[in-house]
């Protein structure tokens, strides 16, 4: 993107903008207008500073950190303290688990959310995976698409698609377990999809 590659910009926007929006929305009390304003600020700041991003943290982590700062400023302008609505993943321990999703799953969060929060954490976990992983899991288990149909969307052959789905399942299992060990307790996640 720093070289002016338009296709790179489109890939960045398609992969990160929806996830950024989903990250921001619940932290702004569900206000679509405020979420759009904050996302616009975050994306603008990211575009101006992208040349300085050196990869110390993942791009998503970097965006989310900018977003946290913008949200804090937003609530401060409104005369309210930041993090008015503490989300499960904003618990420092949970946030650490989220941001090191591929690392040691022994760093467990220390609080368990309600059932609705559990299900929201499913979506949070999916958003932290590589974009194709989350999409592939939704297409297969929610939309009921076949491996061939998923492969067409990803421009991959069926064998590569099966392999990606297997990796996605493992990554999701690890991510969700790290976020919500109590929620995951007793759920015998199959490493292998019993219904390929």
């Amino acid at each position: 993107m720093t070289g002016g590659d338009g296709a790179a910009f489109e890939r960045f926007f398609t992969e990160y903008a929806p996830r950024l929006f989903r990250f921001v929305l619940p932290r702004l009390g569900g206000s679509m207008h405020d979420a759009e304003e904050i996302c616009q600020e975050v994306l603008g700041r990211a575009m101006r500073q992208i040349g300085g991003w050196r990869g110390e943290a993942s791009l998503l982590t970097w965006l989310f950190q900018i977003a946290r700062n913008e949200i804090t400023d937003h609530w401060r302008r409104k005369g309210r303290s930041a993090n008015v609505e503490l989300l499960a993943e904003d618990d420092p321990a949970v946030a650490a688990a989220v941001e090191s999703i591929a690392e040691d799953a022994a760093r467990r969060p220390d609080r368990l959310a309600e059932r609705a929060d559990q299900l929201r954490l499913v979506q949070v976990a999916m958003d932290r995976l590589p974009a194709n992983y989350g999409n592939a899991l939704e297409w297969k288990y929610i939309d009921g698409l076949s491996v061939v149909e998923i492969g067409k969307r990803l421009a991959m052959n069926p064998i590569a698609t099966q392999s990606l789905l297997a990796r996605a399942r493992n990554a999701f299992r690890d991510a969700y377990t790290a976020l919500s060990p109590d929620g995951a307790q007793g759920i015998p996640f199959n490493l292998v999809d019993p219904s390929p």
């Binding site: 993107m1 720093t2 002016g4 910009f9 926007f13 903008a17 929806p18 929006f21 989903r22 929305l25 679509m32 979420a35 759009e36 304003e37 996302c39 616009q40 994306l43 603008g44 990211a46 575009m47 101006r48 992208i50 040349g51 299900l119 929201r120 499913v122 979506q123 999916m126 958003d127 989350g134 899991l137 939704e138 297969k140 288990y141 929610i142 009921g144 399942r169 999701f172 299992r173 969700y176 759920i187 015998p188 996640f189 199959n190 999809d193 019993p194 219904s195």
Partner: protein
């Protein structure tokens, strides 16, 4: 088919699809992010060139000040007229005749007659261009702040030589004041019109921030804002075409586009940019055909859309659907 023995699948199904922002929201976010990305690219390019140009710029500016004859007393120069035409400059200082007739200083007011508009460039970089509609009065409060007293202005912060995209918003900040309202650009083409009861802001490309008191709204391409002239009330936003009849006076002051020796694709991109249209090609290969077609002839002295038809008439390409211009796009196809 998913079997009940797959708890992972059950969990994902129970959670449901992750919510997606609407296409409208995504469109606005994309437009805003793209504008900022382009501004960032230009800023980095400008910094690389600045080290080389700095010494030359200092010498050149010094020579300009000396040429007006009164180095220590000349007012700060903020703009230069770029197109000859009827106009009146009301100088802030009666003794400011030291300035050349095509230069404006801080405090000067530029007025256009009822019949014609005029164009000028913001100095010192010269890469932000302004077009004043007929019956417009614009006063320069400082190098980066103007007050629209009457009429309408159009600002293009990306404009250098025709077809080029020199300069950037951060290096050429410009704030337009109208009563209590303030309009700031963030790398864009936009128009501001002062009417009796309201001010209209229309964005052709990029992003603009409109502020009235504590209220601030961000506009991107295809959006418009209405600001009450009284300064009381709120900013209303609405959809606004980036091309069409409301932009007619702007298009009439578009710069002449040279074509000699240039390829058709580059010329079409320039004209589409000036017309506020997105250029699309009906089929693969059409764009390549445009790139491979070399034009010859004098510069086009036509409004951008008419110029587009003129250059296409000499080729095998044509505008496939004129009505799409109402949607802000122009579709090119081959015969």
């Amino acid at each position: 088919m998913n079997t009940p023995q797959d708890p992972l699948a059950e969990l994902i199904r129970a959670a449901g699809h992750r919510p997606e922002p609407s296409a409208e929201v995504m469109g606005r976010l994309r437009a805003g992010a793209h504008a900022q990305w382009q501004a960032g690219l230009r800023e980095r390019r400008r910094r690389r060139l600045f080290a080389v140009a700095a010494g030359v710029a200092v010498l050149g500016f010094g020579a300009l000040l000396l040429s007006v004859g009164r180095f220590s007393e000349a007012p700060s120069i903020v703009a230069r007229l770029t197109q000859a035409g009827d106009h009146q400059i009301v100088r802030a200082r009666p003794d400011a005749d030291v300035l050349d007739s095509d230069l404006l200083g801080v405090g000067d007011e530029l007025r256009t007659p009822a019949s014609t508009g005029i164009t000028l460039a913001q100095l010192p970089q010269g890469t932000t261009s302004l077009r004043l509609a007929p019956a417009t009065r614009l006063r320069w409060k400082s190098a980066e702040r103007v007050e629209l007293l009457a009429g309408a202005i159009y600002i293009d912060t990306s404009h250098g030589a025709p077809g080029a995209r020199a300069g950037d918003a951060t290096a050429n900040p410009l704030v337009i004041e109208i009563g209590a309202a303030r309009i700031e650009h963030i790398g864009t083409q936009f128009m501001v019109t002062r009417r009796d009861d309201r001010t209209e802001v229309r964005v052709r490309d990029g992003m603009v921030r409109v502020t009235l008191g504590d209220e601030s709204r961000r506009l991107v391409r295809g959006e418009a804002a209405l600001v009450p002239s009284s300064g009381e009330g709120t900013i209303e936003t609405e959809r606004g075409a980036a091309s069409g009849i409301v932009w007619q006076w702007v298009d009439g002051l578009a710069p002449r586009v040279p074509i000699e020796g240039r390829d058709l694709l580059t010329v079409l991109k320039t004209l589409a940019y000036e017309a506020g249209l997105e250029l699309r090609f009906a089929r693969p290969g059409v764009e390549a055909t445009a790139r491979g077609t070399t034009l010859h002839g004098p510069s086009l002295d036509l409004p951008p859309r008419d110029a587009m038809r003129a250059v296409l008439a000499s080729s095998d390409l044509f505008i496939a659907d004129e009505t799409r211009a109402d949607d802000g796009t122009v579709l090119i196809d081959s015969r």
